[in-house]
Amino acid sequence: MIFGMHDGVLFHLGPIPVDHLVVTQWVIIALLGTVAFFATRNMQEIPRGLQNAFEMIITWANEFFTQLMDKPHVAKKWAPLLTTFFLFILVSNYSGLLPGSATIDGFQPPTSNWNVTMTLALITFFSIYVAGISENGLHHFKHFVSPSPAMLPLNLVEEVAHPLSLTVRLFGNIFGEEMVIAYLLFMAPFVVPAAIMGLSLLLGAIQAIVFTILSASYIAAATGEGH
């Protein structure tokens, strides 16, 4: 019962246990996939409705990451991954606020469990290496001994601290927010939790943005000339 974890293994897929978090993520992926499918099916020259909204997101994301990462081809390469991070984390964070979601036994937003957030952070961790090596070749590993070999231990610590802090930040925020809402619901069932839930709409979006921006800046740092 550590960290309010609900041990909810629903069924086994061969030797792999499938728990409630995995199923929730499947639902989120299916939802995003379906919306994207219907938005891009039967595309028009002059966009309307859903296609228009998606084109706006893509244009905005490309511009934003180009400005943030200052190498346009790197930004163009990594924008799809980072935008997917943003959409997935946003929908995950908001899934806990859906009316009625608390009545499902053992339901929790996937991002309020640190197995999920660490998975996301590890994707970033390996993306940093892929981006650095594809951009600078083996010179990427020079950053371990920059500015001098004496900094090697600190650089190694930093390397681990990046994914760890991404994990803990997202998990801590969403889990903390869920706990606050749960305690408030327990103490004052009506009206009062609505204020915190309104605040957590904002928090969920900010955490999604922060995760995306930090991933982008780590990747940008790995592909920069400094290394």
């Binding site: 019962m1 550590i2 960290f3 400005q67 943030l68 802090s165 803990v168 930040r169 801590g172 925020n173 889990f175 903390g176 706990m179 900010i206 943005i209 922060v210 921006i213 930090l214 800046s217």
Partner: protein
């Protein structure tokens, strides 16, 4: 009893530090935007990154508090 006290102290001290840091960072950012509104976008992005780093330290305190609360009977 000790664990409950520890949890409260952990999260409150972490909160004080994070609050001061965020206040200083946010205040300076608003000052910068008020003086030079044209750099607003850049300052906002940097502010978000900075706040995220500050917040992580507070969240570490919260994490320790959760671990301690798990020990309370």
């Amino acid at each position: 009893m000790g664990a409950a006290l520890g949890a409260g102290i952990a999260v409150s001290i972490a909160g004080i530090g994070g609050g001061i840091g965020m206040g200083v960072a946010g205040g300076k950012a608003f000052e910068a935007i008020a003086r030079q509104p044209e750099v607003g976008g850049d300052v906002r992005t940097l502010l978000f990154i900075t706040l995220a780093f500050i917040e992580t330290l507070t969240i570490y305190g919260l994490l320790i508090a959760f671990m301690l609360v798990g020990k309370v009977e």
